[in-house]
Amino acid sequence: MSSQGSSLKLVPPLQSARSEHPVSAFFSHYMLDSAYDEMFDAEWRARPHYRALIEELLVTSPEVLRQRQLEADRAFITQGITFTVYGDDQGTERIFPFDLLPRILTGREWDTLERGLAQRLTAVNLFLKDIYHEGRILSEGVVPPDLVYSCRHYRREMRGVRVHKDIYVSIAGTDLIRLEDGQFVVLEDNLRVPSGVSYMLANREVTKRVFPGLFTRYNVKPIAHYGQSLLATLRTLTPANRAEPTIVVLTPGVGNSAYFEHAFLAREMGVPLVEGRDLLVYDNVVYMRTTSGLRRVDVIYRRVDDDFLDPLAFRADSYLGVAGLLNAYRAGQVSLANAIGTGVADDKAVYAYLPAIIKFYLSEEPILSNVQTYLLDNPSDRSYVLDHLDSLVVKAVGESGGYGMLIGPHSTRQQREEFRAQILASPRNYIAQPTLAFSRAACFMETGIEPRHIDLRPYVLFGDRVTTVPGGLTRVALRKGSLVVNSSQGGGSKDTWVLAD
């Protein structure tokens, strides 16, 4: 089934080229199984929106592609789009591996995603306002109160705090995967400080350089206006009576692995990139220290976690934050994007209630489904999960980055026993989901073109209106068979095209 003949035979425009063209060997390692393949259907027919890409590949020699891969990697290195490997005192900087071949979505597929994401984020903002004020959804028993109050990211300090325009989450990065039938489902909501948008933009720039010809054959929707959209979204948070707001990006500093992105976004928006030590609070007003003295700050796009934001309110050992920031925020003198305490809504156990949350506030059916999720503090779910650890994925609710995760089918007996003990010790801290076959996209590997599992993280902006820049970060599990797309665990990324149909 995976022989080169069958892989190309059913790609109509290529039929004749197959036998005499040596590059068709390119696809000799391609294989299909039950997972949804973005490029071919189950009968090895190329999906229509991938045909032009395949044709381009068949007239390009592997050497040329390899050359382009080198050029792309070099472009990332000279631009300094790198992350520092923690715990390496040589200061080694690595690039986030980049796959040459774009992932292509049709306009129709995108429309559904866009509507579904807007619906989801609207409900999330209503939910956050509710739980930090009257708590209607809790008293009506739709979401169990102890689930919310036991969440590590719930912030008592936010009780009754009036958040400007009730926008808690201005910037979200929602992780979606595609199931075997091609349907997109939400795997995870990232509602605190989602990262990766700079890679989305950088990937596009690099792809333009290495495949200039392809862009003339496809009508790809542009994404370059993300910076302007982000700025417009942050402007909507301007506190009342501040006409010309000063907006800043707050970074933990160069030591942070996402520092490149923080600087990148500040540049794109044309606003200062500040660190905690540049800011101070006096009389509940936030100032930054400039060459012209102190200057008032109105909106902070903070890329610092809640815990480190204000040593007086949260972790006292934090050097990354600003003493007194929480009070200034509560006094309404400064806006934060995202608000403090939004992590409740992306807790992996609260996630299971998102469809109910959408119905509760919007009286609508969710456009995007969730992945089936077992809550381990529920006794019947728990006993089912403990009996099926070898086939399920278990995740710690407060973790991200692919850490704290057990992938049943790939686990050892010892790992399963460790998770069993941890689940029994603190069931609230774990959830379980079926092991899903994420969709696969064609990637340019050592041996030729091969499919690898991918996900999709679009970036949603919530201001006076909801904006989702058409595209997102497609992350790739570059290790064969791997389902983990995180950069810390052998993941890479590729450009994501949304076509204007």
């Binding site: 290195i77 631009q79 300094g80 600087a263 990148f264 220290r289 060459t291 012209s292 102190l294």
Partner: protein, 315 residues
């Protein structure tokens, strides 16, 4: 309006790069002198290394060049300068242009690569040339792609302050201690003064000005007081004062002290006469210039970067 931290980093980017370029050139000149086996060249070479904090002692030339180029523990080495400049640039990535960043990053990667290859011993000239060209390219890109606004002026301040003090401290090692006439150099001296000129990229410019007749007094005059040569202390002081005056225009804070100190330095050089300096105590004169440079540095820092919050709070 600039963040104080950003202003500080911009200032240090150009200081560090100027220092790296200076050290790279000294190494090239020192190696040339060693290779040419000019008589009595040893002591001039020794002084060049001394000026960047390396004591020659019993080390061979190649080890010294290695220290000046690639020793990360030597703050004046090329690799330290380039690394520190790039680290500062990384912290103000949003203030400098993308081409500037890409050039500085490329220079950093190239320097690091040459250091790791380790086989530079046989081609020190090539290494030093690569670095000097890299820094010059960065300056050209800076002038062509960054708005000549407040941030750019901080780059100028760092640049010319480093240059004034580097030229002054190099001269300090060549002029005699105490008083005395230097008008008639011995042949051995002549080689040294040529070396000094070369290490400031000044030999050609000097010859066009005074002919190839190299004399101690003229060299001192050229490197210290020439109004047109871009590495003379006077030229640098004029530029420095100009940049500080521009900076004061951007800020509502008073930068008066830095501007006044720079103006005094510039004026004292403009009205100085080389005979007077040489007949008096040239070493003391140059040491005094270095001291004034560090006073200006502190004044800039206090006015714009590390001012007390109380002095800046709204009334």
């Amino acid at each position: 309006m600039l963040l104080s931290r950003v202003a500080d980093s911009l200032y240090w980017i150009s200081r560090y790069l100027e220092r790296a370029e200076h050290s790279a050139r000294l190494v090239a000149v020192a190696v040339d002198q060693g290779l040419g086996r000019a008589p009595f060249a040893g002591s001039a070479v020794e002084r060049l290394y001394q000026s960047i904090g390396l004591e020659s002692g019993s080390q061979d030339l190649s080890a010294l060049a290695g220290g000046a180029l690639f020793d990360l523990t030597n703050r004046n080495s090329v690799v330290s300068g380039v690394t520190a400049a790039r680290e500062n640039a990384r912290q103000v990535r949003e203030e400098i242009s993308t081409p500037m960043w890409e050039q500085l990053n490329a220079l950093f990667l190239r320097t690091k690569q040459m250091r790791e290859e380790g086989s530079w011993g046989a081609r020190i000239h090539h290494v030093s040339r690569t670095i000097i060209d890299g820094v010059r390219l960065f300056k050209g890109i800076t002038n062509g792609t960054m708005s000549h606004g407040e941030g750019w002026q901080y780059l100028q301040v760092g640049h010319y302050l480093e240059r004034s003090s580097a030229t002054a401290s190099l001269l300090t090692l060549f002029v005699p201690e105490g008083t005395g006439s230097m008008n008639m150099p011995e042949p051995r001296d002549q080689v040294e003064w040529v070396t000094l000129l070369e290490s400031c990229s000044a030999l050609e410019a000097y010859c066009r000005y005074y002919t190839a007749d190299v004399r101690a007094g003229r060299v001192t005059e050229f490197l210290l007081l020439n109004p047109e040569f871009p590495r003379s202390v006077r030229f640098s002081a004029v530029q420095l004062e100009g940049a500080l005056r521009q900076l004061a225009r951007y800020s509502t804070r008073t930068g008066g002290r830095a501007e006044r100190l720079a103006g005094r330095l510039r004026a004292s050089l403009e009205y100085a006469q080389v005979d007077e300096i040489l007949n008096d105590d040239p070493q003391a004169y140059l040491t005094n210039i270095s001291r004034q440079c560090s006073q200006i540095h502190s004044a800039v820092h206090q006015s714009y970067v590390s001012y007390s919050i109380e002095s800046a709070l709204p009334a």
